[in-house]
Subunit: 224 residues, 2 copies
DNA sequence: TAGGAGACTACTCGCATGTATAGCCATGGG
DNA sequence: CCCATGGCTATACATGCGAGTAGTCTCCTA
């Protein structure tokens, strides 16, 4: 019925236009604007997808799939950036902005994206620890969750501070973000922030005094 | 004309209700919902504020002022958290969520909040460096901007992952966030992440090769 | 060549929103 | 006493939205 062939028809144009509109303007962008970008009428969305919600779901799935493809294609090992210079092309930039907006707005799609990144980063991090590049943590997953949350959040803030960025200029904003963050990140990762271990040791002693071992403290999030 | 006395009338109730609604539901919350929370009619918003935009502006100013008051009241010196356990009360929790939403959605208010936090943190950080508690950075402002952006962003992501959090439960979510982040943060700040300085030194050598000194790299953001 | 399935459009409907208008009514100074 | 000021409400209006309906056009096939 619905094969990969008809991805050349208006259905695919509509889906791709929706992804670009959602990335550029947010998920509240109207169906009429999406249809206009695709060069079709608004009613065609209903004809092909049934509702805006189902169009959104298909966009989510498509973006996640393309993100996975892009990740597996470009295997690089730069521990300085958990995103591994994703926005190398306009297409990748759109994907990244779409994902950032998904996380920003919450919901199932954003949570799925985030969990995907955590799983990726956890695998990467444990490998880096095993190879002696990264110091071990008392709770690897908690550290990875923290780093991913902070990194994604930092990008979201950067995106929010440049709301009028066009999709084509977005690579520039990301590059500026990395340029701004590279030195502080490398300093922090290489030299830390505190001059002594007092705060850490005091916290470890405090935690050891409770019945909560540090390793089991930060596994799952709050159960809604 | 409009003195501090009439803050006991419906005008203040409307403003406070708007702040709570904006924090709980976002800035797209309807005037009718805000008026309902305040126990007045929707038309009163126009009567007192002229438009929704001007109501929003007054909410922004009020939140910023209360945030400043709260900050100057509670002077504490805990370098582990740049937010200094702000949400100690329900009122403070509402302020924090409002600020996070402002930054999240971009715009002038969010940028103002962020710049305010950067200025605070910069002052605090330079003092900590002078007292020998924190290692110096090659670009103090860039480091502070980075840390503030990451911290605020991390909270925004945490907030997005718990979209159905009530305003009263929000302190719990923040406490959970701190509980999850405390160990990774202290580890990172005390022990760093990399086992050696290779990446940092390579970057410093690379930057030294260009005409851009590291200190001047991350001052102002992109000129829109 | 006839016919039918599906891509696509024009138009409409109900709904929610921000804004605008007209008026009620309690209070307080003449 | 009286009436004007201003807080406040009820209602209407214009707009833009997603969703629904009916119909046209274009191939592909029997």
């Amino acid at each position: 019925m619905r094969t990969a062939q008809d991805d050349l028809t208006g259905r695919a144009r509509l889906r791709d236009a929706a992804i670009e509109c959602f990335a550029a303007q947010g998920f509240d962008e109207s169906l009429r604007a999406i249809a206009a970008r695709a060069g079709v009428s608004a009613g065609l969305v209903r004809h092909h997808f049934g509702s805006k919600e189902m169009l959104r779901a298909e966009c989510d799935a498509t973006v996640l799939q393309r993100y996975r493809t892009l990740k597996t294609e470009s295997i690089n090992a730069d521990p300085a950036s958990l995103f591994a210079q994703l926005p190398a092309s306009r297409e990748a930039g759109i994907l990244l902005v779409y994902i950032l907006r998904s996380v920003r707005d919450g919901g199932a799609a954003g949570r799925e994206f985030l969990e995907h990144m955590v799983a990726e980063a956890l695998e990467f991090s444990m490998d880096a620890v095993a190879r002696g590049l990264v110091v071990p943590s008392r709770d690897e997953e908690a550290r990875v969750r923290h780093l991913v949350r902070q990194s994604v959040g930092g990008l979201i803030v950067q995106l929010a501070m440049h709301p009028d960025t066009q999709l084509d200029d977005f690579q520039g904003v990301i590059e500026q973000f990395y340029a701004d963050s590279m030195l502080p990140t490398l300093e922090l990762y290489s030299e830390g922030l505190f001059t002594d271990r007092t705060y850490l040791d005091e916290y470890l002693a405090y935690v050891a005094g409770t019945n909560n071992p540090p390793a089991g403290l930060a596994g799952e999030q709050l159960p809604r």
